[in-house]
Amino acid sequence: MGKRVTVGQKIGQWMRVLKATAFSTYKEWVAYRSQMAVTIFVGPVFFLTQIFIWRAVYAARTTLNGLTLEQMLTYYGIVAVIGYLTFDSADWDLQWLIRNGSFLTYMLRPVSYCFLAFAQKIGHRLLALWVELIPVYLLFIYLFKIDLVPAQPGWAILSLGLSFILVYLTNYCIGITAFWFTKTEGLRRAFLTLRDLSAGMLIPLTFFPKGMQKVLFYLPFQFITYVPTRVFIGHYELAGISLSIPQVVGLQFAATLVMFAVAQLLWYFGIKRFTGVGA
């Protein structure tokens, strides 16, 4: 008779896999830490451009779309920090594995690819935490005098965590499309462009025309950057709709669940199309 595994033991097993995978990914990427450290130069230089652009724009006014100059710069500071925290390349990684056939080796493992790649992301971002995020965060605070302290830290951490998962799931879905298209570079770029624009990474969503804001409100992309940024600031508004922080984080949680369901559905149909040769 087989030994019955309890839910607690199962979770323990998963946590061990997660820890081992994250740790090995961390060690693997430590070798490329100088590449990651490029951010310490690139991040502040990009931010410096933003400072000059918005100072010029605010030269003859104190507010624009309800934001003061300080709030606008804080917005871009938070957007940058969120970007460093949630970045991943799940889309590129998966399409590459499918295209060159090495995805086959992942099918032989006793752990789902979705979970494994997520654990890899955790390891990768843990390294980025001290190589990219903390140095840039400190530079923003002490060099540019940007207030990067969340208005409600608990909700901000929860929202950032959900954004971390959401970015992974959306990128993972794009990666899955390689089961149909093989080479998805164009689709990947198209999606990332649309995502960054609709998520408020380029400009706050309140700058879009009112009709467009209504469309953006119903798209899931705002939950990736715009929502965590507004939660960080402590006030949410889009398309004339104001929501309390718990309400908007609740919506973000729902969006994450929907995205997870979409990813599972895509995987269910996509995996049937995979054909691996050799191995």
Partner: protein, 260 residues
């Protein structure tokens, strides 16, 4: 010279044919290259549509600067800026040696084999923005056009210089494609009117690191109100090109083959 052009065209044709293996992906990538470059103009349009401005600049004047910048990048990206990824990738994979044993200069071969077909989308985007912005502004006179063309040639030469420096870095900084981001972050200043930056920064991007020459300097000549320091920017641009050629040669000497 004719022989070199023929070799270059063969390289471009091969790159295009190879990219056509995934046709749908190629056309989508090209379209996206066009759209991605439109981020800065989009921000500018939104700023102006929300009632704000860059002081002293109309929307189409600001867009013209971005149009010139993107037109320059649109020409550079497919035709010669491919030396950057080509060099980095080849050094990483160990196939850079193959360029060194050809009966042509390594630099020429790196350009020929680095033709980037999908970046033609950037050229379409740059041309469209430049034409659109210019059509909404008073038409420049012949003298202004001539000055612009000379300065724009220098813009291309400076972009070539940046390509050489990044590719040279790729020889010693193995597999680091993030050099592109270093380039993007520095040249990002060139997308906006130099006048919006502080005086010290204007001096840096005009007379120390040639960034203003990528957009602001040629565009202001076309607008009939040349930027302060245009002559200096020309001198710096030429010096930069010489420096980048020297830098490339220096890095090439540092190349250590992995054998094969």
């Amino acid at each position: 010279m004719r022989n070199n052009i023929r070799i270059y065209l063969v390289g471009a044709k091969t790159a295009l044919a190879s990219r056509m293996a995934y046709r749908a992906d190629f056309f989508m990538s090209m379209l996206i290259m066009l759209l991605v470059e439109m981020a800065a103009p989009l921000i500018t349009i939104m700023i102006y549509q929300n009632g704000a401005t860059f002081p002293g600049w109309t929307m189409y004047e600001a867009l013209l600067i971005q149009g010139v910048f993107l037109l320059g990048k649109g020409i550079a990206a497919p035709f010669f800026f491919g030396i950057v990824w080509n060099t980095i990738e080849r050094v990483q994979n160990g196939t850079f040696d193959l360029l060194m044993i050809k009966p042509k200069s390594v630099l020429f071969m790196a350009i020929v084999t680095g033709f980037d077909a999908e970046d033609l989308g950037k050229l379409i985007g740059g041309t469209t923005l430049f034409t659109l912005a210019l059509s909404r502004l008073p038409m420049p006179g012949l003298g202004e056009w001539l000055q612009f063309l000379l300065l724009f040639l220098l813009t291309l030469a400076v972009l070539f210089g940046y390509g050489l420096i990044l590719a040279g870095l790729g020889i010693v900084w193995i597999g680091n494609f993030r050099v592109y981001q270093i380039f993007e972050s520095i040249t990002n200043f060139g997308l906006y009117p130099a006048a919006i930056f502080s005086k010290p920064l204007q001096t840096v991007i005009t007379l120390v690191i040639p960034v203003a020459i990528l957009g602001s300097v040629p565009a202001t000549v076309l607008l009939g109100r040349p930027s302060a320091g245009t002559i200096g920017a020309v001198g710096v641009g030429l010096l930069f090109l010489l420096f980048s050629l020297g830098f490339w040669r220096w890095m090439l000497k540092k190349y250590t083959s992995v054998g094969g």
